[in-house]
Every structure is written in structure tokens, then in C-alpha cells.
């Protein structure tokens, strides 16, 4: 635990600029959205919208603006609107991002901003894809604690270091930004994909878990970790900043260490 903190001052001088000065500027953007509705046409098509947006607006706000003010049929998933639920992974300017975490002002607004569904999963409508294959892979790695010992009456003990060992991969929100950015996954959709490996990693390196060997065996599959070609798209796409490729490397090494 941290040491007790000294009481902060009752009153301090605030620098004049604190709290942000001035009005937040507005700006114009063109949002180019990939539309697809099989009830209307089998073809997907680009659609442009000119919008006026504010300083702190995110791509999600722009999509909402279209849906709420221009065309209600535009469909996309979203819920929390601040990057913790994993609903709205999509391809923004060619890269997988969460729409609710991508500020418009951080993008090049002089060109159209392209928004399209994530790759490699079947598109169901506009930006909505079928997530079932993704969750299928997740379920296959046995993503839950398996402990063969006796249930203790109190909590199981775990040292701070042991807890730290798998901290990074506990952050996953199952948004699929990683898996759908992986060139290997795009090819045939059979590869387990980084998200499943991340969630296996979370348990393999949890000192309380006893089923690491089984998970390593699962990932030693021909569609398992060995298909990873270290392209790092996953690490760059992950909105939670998880070092995905690193986690995959650690799993590979664990399998090797076990077999050799």
C-alpha cells in the first residue's frame, strides 16, 4: 500500500488558463460510410455525408448525427460511448478503432473520413458484423478459472507480482478489433485469432489456475498460435493498449518450453 498522503492545501493559486479557455471550435467533415443492407441490395456502397461537428466529438457522434438527423436506417452497435464495452469496433480511415474513442479532431478532416465494418467477419448490415465466430474462438480456449485444489474458506492468496504477471491481458473487452485486423484471420477465418489467445494468456499465467496445460494444448493446434506471423496489426488496433503480440509470443514460448 502507498504511504499515507499529506493533506493537500486548502487553497492554491490556479494558473489563469486552467479549465480551458475560449469556445470549442466547430468544423466540417465528410464522413464516408460503407453501407450494406441485404434487404435492399446485395451490393455494398459508399455514402458521403457532410457534417458540422464540435471539438470534442468522436466518430460515434458523427454516426449518431447521421442516424438521428439524416438517415435513421444507418445501423451500428454501440453502448457505453467511452471505450469500455467493446461494441463499436469498426474500420476508421482503414484501421480498426472504437468509434467512441476516436476524436474527429485527431483525424485528417481535410479528406473524407472512411468508416467501414471490421474485416473477416460476415457483415450483417452496414457496420454490424456477425460476432459469433469470434466468440466461438473465445469460448474454445476455456476462458475461465479452473482450479483443482480444495476451495479455501477465504480468498486464494496471490502475490502482487503474480497478480501483475497477467494484468495486461485482463483488460480485454472482446471488441474484436485485434482479431479482425489480423491478415491471417482474414484469409479463412479459421485462425483462433489474437483475442482468443489474449484471453487464454490471461488464465495460463494466472498463478491460481491449474489448466494452463490444457489451454496450451488447444493453442498448439494447426489454427493456433503458430499461425501468427507477428504482423502487429492486433497490438496497434487494441483500444485497451494490450501488448497482444507480446502475449502471443509468451504463449508460444510456454508451449515450446512445455514440449521441449
Amino acid at each position: 500500500m502507498s504511504a499515507e498522503l499529506a493533506e493537500p492545501a486548502s487553497k492554491i493559486e490556479l494558473p489563469a488558463h486552467i479549465g480551458g479557455g475560449g469556445e470549442i471550435p466547430t468544423f466540417n467533415i465528410t464522413l464516408r460510410v460503407r453501407r450494406y443492407n441485404p434487404e435492399v441490395s446485395e451490393e455494398a456502397a459508399w455514402e458521403d455525408h457532410q457534417l458540422t461537428m464540435y471539438g470534442t466529438d468522436r466518430v460515434l457522434d458523427a454516426l449518431h448525427k447521421i442516424k438521428w438527423e439524416i438517415d435513421g436506417s444507418l445501423s451500428f452497435r454501440r453502448s457505453c460511448a467511452h471505450g469500455v464495452c467493446g461494441s463499436d469496433a469498426m474500420r476508421i480511415n482503414g484501421r480498426n478503432r472504437l468509434a467512441c474513442k476516436t476524436l474527429l479532431k485527431d483525424l485528417d478532416t481535410s479528406k473524407p473520413i472512411t468508416v467501414e465494418p471490421i474485416k473477416g467477419l460476415p457483415v450483417e448490415k452496414d457496420l454490424i458484423v456477425d460476432m459469433e465466430p469470434f466468440f466461438q474462438s473465445f469460448r474454445e480456449v476455456m476462458p475461465f478459472l479452473i482450479n483443482k485444489g480444495h476451495e479455501p474458506t477465504k480468498e486464494r492468496l496471490q502475490s502482487v507480482e503474480d497478480r501483475e504477471r497477467f494484468d495486461d491481458t485482463t483488460k480485454c473487452i472482446l471488441c474484436a478489433a485485434c482479431t479482425s485486423s489480423c491478415p491471417v484471420f482474414w484469409t479463412d477465418g479459421q485462425y483462433f485469432g489474437p483475442a482468443a489467445i489474449v484471453n487464454a494468456h490471461r488464465f495460463i499465467f494466472d498463478s491460481r489456475d491449474d489448466a494452463g496445460d490444457m489451454r496450451l494444448e488447444i493453442l498448439n493446434d494447426k489454427e493456433g498460435v503458430w499461425r501468427c506471423r507477428t504482423t502487429f496489426n492486433c497490438s496497434e488496433a487494441c483500444p485497451r493498449g494490450i501488448q497482444v503480440t507480446q502475449a502471443i509470443a509468451e504463449v508460444k514460448q510456454a508451449i515450446l518450453a512445455r514440449k521441449i
Binding site: 460476415p122 456477425d130 459469433e132 491471417v184 503458430w226
Partner: protein, 159 residues
């Protein structure tokens, strides 16, 4: 009007099923993919030495490519060291490359049949090349007598 359904939806929408089929079996047995992966790295490291040495000797030393002719090759292979070098290079590079191309086929060939045929062709080519190459290196006679004429080559014993 009403039908009883027992299990929840799994990747199908109404009637039009659009989920990709998960053909991933119950998990392939054995460690083939792991060994292949490991082999790629190990052979890679060795190949760096072999290939760079090969290129250096063949293309950089002396007259470079202009120096290469029958005599040059014959000269090299008269020495068991280079024989072994080239043999190792041949095998490792071919296996490494074949396995690499195998992964690529697995990645991009969509249909099982296509996949199979491409791999048959690949393996056949590999076998032919490896066997041929090996034979050439081992049965090579640096001092052939063509039409009763001894070919030049300083390293050949006097007839």
C-alpha cells in the same frame, strides 16, 4: 403457427444462414505445426550463414558473376567442404521454402480441393528438386570426358 425451438441462436439469422462454418476440428494431434514453426526459425538462422557465404563467394569474390562457369562450379565441388555446404543449403532452403509456401497455400487457397492440389504440386516439385540437386552434388564428376576429350580444369588429375 408456433414452433418449439430448443437451443439458442448460434450465428444464424432467420433462415438465411451467413455464418462461416467453423471447420476447426477437435484439435489436430501432435506437434507438427510447432515443429514446422521452430524449423523455420532454426533453418533461417543457419541459412543466413550459408546463403550469405554462397553469395559472397560466387558473386563478390574475384570476378563476380563473370567468374562463374563450369570450371568454377567444378572447382568448388571438388572440395568436400563446398559439397557439404551446398548440400546443406539445398536441403534447408528447400525445406524452409516449401514449408513457407505450404503456409501460404493454407492461407489463401479457399477450397479444400485447390488446397490439396497445390500442395501435391508443391511437394512433388520439392522432391524432384531436392533429389535432383542431391544427385548432382554427389555424382558430380568434375573432370568429365566428353567425346573423349578431357575438359579443362586445373584441379583435374592428369589423365
Amino acid at each position: 403457427m408456433s414452433t418449439d425451438i430448443q437451443s439458442p441462436r448460434s450465428g444464424k439469422i432467420g433462415s438465411g444462414k451467413i455464418a462461416p462454418q467453423y471447420r476447426r476440428g477437435t484439435g489436430s494431434k501432435g506437434n507438427f505445426e510447432m515443429l514446422a514453426w521452430l524449423f523455420m526459425r532454426l533453418s533461417g538462422v543457419v541459412l543466413v550463414v550459408l546463403i550469405f557465404g554462397h553469395l559472397f563467394v560466387n558473386l563478390m569474390v574475384g570476378e563476380g558473376i563473370h567468374g562463374i562457369d563450369f570450371g568454377f562450379v567444378a572447382g568448388k565441388w571438388a572440395d568436400p567442404f563446398w559439397q557439404f555446404w551446398d548440400l546443406a543449403m539445398l536441403w534447408l532452403a528447400m525445406l524452409h521454402g516449401t514449408n513457407g509456401v505450404r503456409t501460404i497455400i493454407n492461407d489463401y487457397a479457399e477450397k479444400d480441393a485447390t488446397r490439396l492440389w497445390l500442395k501435391v504440386v508443391l511437394y512433388a516439385a520439392t522432391v524432384v528438386i531436392v533429389v535432383l540437386g542431391t544427385l548432382v552434388i554427389f555424382t558430380f564428376n568434375p573432370c568429365p570426358v566428353v567425346n573423349g576429350v578431357q575438359l579443362p580444369g586445373g584441379f583435374c588429375p592428369a589423365p
